[in-house]
């Protein structure tokens, strides 16, 4: 499993405050699945407008938790939608799903770590 979260960068973002990191991870682990579900449904419907707006929000969220690779993959999906490209949406989503699985695992591990 690769590194989905840039841990060092993440600590910088929260000013090295464990409480802020914990709060951030709790919010992320709650919100991220909801956002993913919205993207999945939009891709299934080929709803380009929703893919673009939800993709933009998800990209921002991933950037905030220093999930750089995942943010880049979502950016690719958002670009496809904005370019009205119907082809390639599923393929981009597969990549994001892979990122998501790793992210959630790492996020949960980080949460346990900051609870200590």
């Amino acid at each position: 499993m690769g590194t989905a979260l840039n841990i060092r960068e993440l600590w910088e973002r929260v000013d090295h405050e464990p409480e802020i990191l914990r709060d951030l991870m709790v919010s992320f682990l709650e919100e991220f699945p909801r956002q993913m579900q919205q993207i999945r449904e939009a891709v299934a419907r080929k709803d380009l407008e929703t893919i673009a707006t939800a993709g933009h929000t998800l990209k921002g969220m991933l950037s905030n938790v220093a999930a750089e690779k995942a943010a880049g993959d979502v950016d690719s999906l958002e670009r496809l939608a904005r370019q009205k490209a119907q082809n390639g949406l599923e393929k981009a989503l597969v990549q994001i799903e892979h990122d998501a699985a790793v992210l959630v695992t790492q996020g949960q591990a980080l949460l346990v770590e900051t609870k200590r």
Binding site: E12, R13, V14, D15, E17, E19, I20, D23, L24, S27, F28, E31, H56, T57, K59, G60, M61, S63, N64, V65, A66
Partner: protein, 322 residues
């Protein structure tokens, strides 16, 4: 210090909110631009704002445009948060009224330093407003008594006369002159004379309603404007003003000094456009009459003050001496 954070993306909002709380700010976090504009428009609303660029209902630049429309509201220092970095966007955002922008994701130290810049600018703004208000006060008030100065009270009277004509409502003008004031200065000195003027100014202000105007017209002359006050109301009010001056002696550093005032009154009934000059002329003639008839009294000019105040038309409404 209060700060508003507006971001529809939960993680970003929580992160910024927590960082700012930790830094000692009083944070209000909202999820859309409409709510942000509402909070920022409140009289006691935050004066620092971090606004996400893209938000539902109203975006960050839209919030900036709304708050910049409220010119009478204290300045709000607004920072746009953006993940975009094209020149067009930045120019558009700054043109909408934003003071600065931050590209997400940002380092907490950068956020804090930008906010510190904002606070510095707000402090400068406060100092400027304070200085402007101080100068405005100095330009419109008499330095000794703190009353409106002659120019300011005349301007206010002119406005009241226009309003009176528009609304067909009466306005009463009082010209008060302290009796034998030169004697007070000669006998007790100018410092005591100044103390008398200050105390009388205080008593005059205390004897009228908060929305009436009291100004220093000249050395020992005062001009008072009783708003929406007709002949009958004016008579009672004038007598109470005269009494407030005459009843108690003025305590000065050297000794208590007895003071009286003569008052000339003219009423603009509002039925026709009255000129400031003719109204003041009438009040002046009535004052002259009060002086001639022994001082410490009130004289009311006739309603028809435009046609030279006829001594017969001037009524005595208070005793010459108490």
């Amino acid at each position: 210090m209060k700060i508003l954070v507006a971001d529809d993306e939960l993680i970003s909002r929580r992160l910024v909110e927590n960082l700012l709380k930790r830094a000692g700010y009083d944070v209000i976090a909202v999820e859309n631009g409409r709510l942000a504009a509402e909070y920022l428009s409140r009289a006691d609303g935050p004066r620092l704002a971090l606004l996400d660029w893209v938000m539902p209902d109203l975006d960050g630049p839209g919030v900036c445009r709304e708050i910049r429309n409220h010119e009478d509201h204290p300045y709000v220092y607004a920072i746009l948060l953006t993940s975009k970095d094209s020149k067009e966007d930045l120019v558009g955002g700054l043109e909408a009224g934003a003071d600065d922008y931050l590209t997400k994701p940002f380092h907490p130290a950068e956020l804090k330093i930008r906010l510190r810049t904002g606070e510095r600018i707000l402090r400068l703004e406060d100092k400027l407003v304070e200085a402007r208000e101080h100068m405005r006060f100095q330009a419109t008030h008499d330095p000794l008594t703190g009353l409106w100065n002659r120019r300011a009270v005349m301007e206010a009277l002119e406005m009241e006369l226009r309003r009176s004509h528009r609304e067909k409502a009466p306005v009463t003008v009082l010209l008060g002159d302290l009796d034998h004031f030169k004697q007070i200065n000669d006998t007790h000195g100018h410092i005591a004379g100044d103390e008398v003027l200050k105390e009388i100014a205080r008593r005059l202000k205390a004897s009228v309603r908060t929305y009436d105007l009291v100004g220093r017209y000249g050395g020992e002359e005062f001009l008072m404007v009783l708003v929406n006050c007709g002949r009958d109301g004016a008579l009672a009010r004038c007598e109470s003003i005269r009494e407030s001056v005459a009843t108690d002696q003025v305590e000065t550093a050297s000794r208590p000094i007895g003071v009286t005032v003569s008052i000339g009154v003219a009423v603009a009934c509002g039925r026709r456009a009255n000129s400031l000059v003719e109204l003041l002329h009438s009040a002046d003639l009535a004052l002259y009459q009060a002086k001639a008839e022994g001082r410490n009294c009130v004289k009311l000019a006739s309603d028809d003050f435009s046609s030279r105040v006829n001594p017969i038309a001037i009524e005595e409404i208070a005793p010459k001496n108490e």
